[in-house]
Symmetry: C2
Subunit: 276 residues, 2 copies
């Protein structure tokens, strides 16, 4: 990636346009707020898309807190360079993945970077990685409406759309609404909003109850006029799977969580491919 | 705050040194990861400190996702300018608060800012706000090890220390370890690590179980040689209180959550004031 450091901004933009032109759908997964399960939803949708026969990539744009490699069980991959550029790592179901995590000398090493460097790294991930032709590239954005999100929005000119993720609380609503407004201001089409970690089913008494109270998802959808894609329950096995790098939707294909994700995936595909 | 735009970097640093010199203890609350309850812990410790007779301020350094005003029930305060600078808003128990939220024309308006502007805003919050003499200023940092965290670390030369917050999962461990290493690299003393959202008690059957599996807090403490400040259980009333702006530790003074927070507060005070 260093050989191209001296190229001009115009060259960078041209390269990105070329690479992104090979990818049918570019979908940003956005929340504005951290800890809402964005990486889980990104990787679950990627796995469902690959299971449905689509060619899929995931760009982990969370430079400070990259989570995608762990969630997909990709540890210390050997990256190679080909004529087409840097080859992404290959995860389950041939999902192609790029993350800052792959470039760090150790798991716990932080990237202590200010904005301009981060914007440049995003540019590299889009221009120098040999994504090749793909049906869908998911871009997992970090919390906030700063450099990473702005760079993605500015470099990928034809983003298919954004999926918004929130948890039910009123605090999450406050922060996630800002992310929706961010997409609107940057004219990124919004595919819809997902409400994660809704109710919980006690494994002992089977009673359903609420850990994170509120209805942020449906409220944001109504107040800002966007598509509501439904809720995903809170299930401790989600964290277990993410922590061990096993795709939950493959391990637990019939749980309420997977059913919700499958319904969201179908709706997303209907929106982007126009089927159904 | 605009009248000082033309001042030099040296003038800014001098002003910050003067203002920060009036504050005995400057404590950064850090996690690296979002959604771990950092703002809840910051505001709870601030309320406990104020209840214990300390003069307290909270600087909400999360520019994109400010949560402190909501958690302390401060809505659309009228800010005033005095000879000493911009007067912070005053919350429960006379806690002084500054947050970007106060400067936005609406709740859901995002600040779509790149790093350099964010660094400058942090400089303003430290130099132009009339914090006055305080016992403790808590600085609530956003997720990540980028501009906001770097600016705080560079502008406040004598940070008393950092409190690290994680949830129990292995994914959180990965990201939060980066934040600990960030503090170490910038030579910020680490007061200790708190593990939030540990086990949950089913309100129906009283059975305790795990929503976010793992032991990230104690593991990070052991692996990186930092102080372990214990766990806080997951309690749905925490979100209810944060959402309605009522300090949980005042409303529920005897729950396991409050007991844990009080123990952490005592340990923190022992570490910074040398009592006990």
């Amino acid at each position: 990636m260093t050989s191209k450091d001296s190229r001009s901004h115009e060259e960078l933009v041209k390269l990105i346009d070329e690479k992104m032109g090979l990818i049918k759908h570019k979908i940003a997964v956005v929340s504005g707020k951290g800890g809402v399960g964005k990486s889980f939803i990104t990787t679950s949708l990627a796995v469902l898309a690959a299971s449905a026969g689509r060619t899929v990539g995931v760009l982990d744009a969370d430079i400070h807190g990259p989570s995608i490699p762990k969630a997909l069980g990709i540890n210390n991959p050997q990256l190679t360079i080909s004529a087409g550029g840097l080859e992404p790592a290959v995860g389950p179901l041939d999902i192609k993945v790029i993350s800052t995590q792959f470039f760090l000398p150790g798991d716990d090493v932080p990237l202590i970077w200010r904005g301009p460097l981060k914007g440049r790294l995003i540019g590299e991930f889009l221009s120098s990685v040999n994504w090749g032709p793909l049906d869908i590239l998911f871009v997992d954005l970090p919390p906030g409406t700063g450099d990473e999100a702005l760079s993605i929005a500015q470099y990928i000119k034809k983003l298919t759309g954004a999926l918004i993720v929130t948890i039910p609380t009123s605090l999450s609503k406050l922060v996630v609404k800002k992310a929706v407004r961010f997409c609107m201001e940057l004219q990124i089409p919004i595919l819809g909003i997902v409400e994660n970690m809704k109710e919980l089913i006690c494994p002992t008494c089977n009673e359903t109850y609420t850990v994170f109270p509120g209805n942020a998802g449906s409220e944001i959808a109504r107040e800002l006029g966007i598509n509501y894609l439904g809720t995903i329950p809170l299930d401790p096995r989600v964290s277990e799977c993410v922590d061990s790098g096993i795709p939950y939707v493959l391990k637990y294909p019939d749980t309420p969580v997977t059913k919700s994700l499958k319904a969201m995936f179908s709706e997303m595909m209907r929106l982007i491919e126009g089927n159904g």
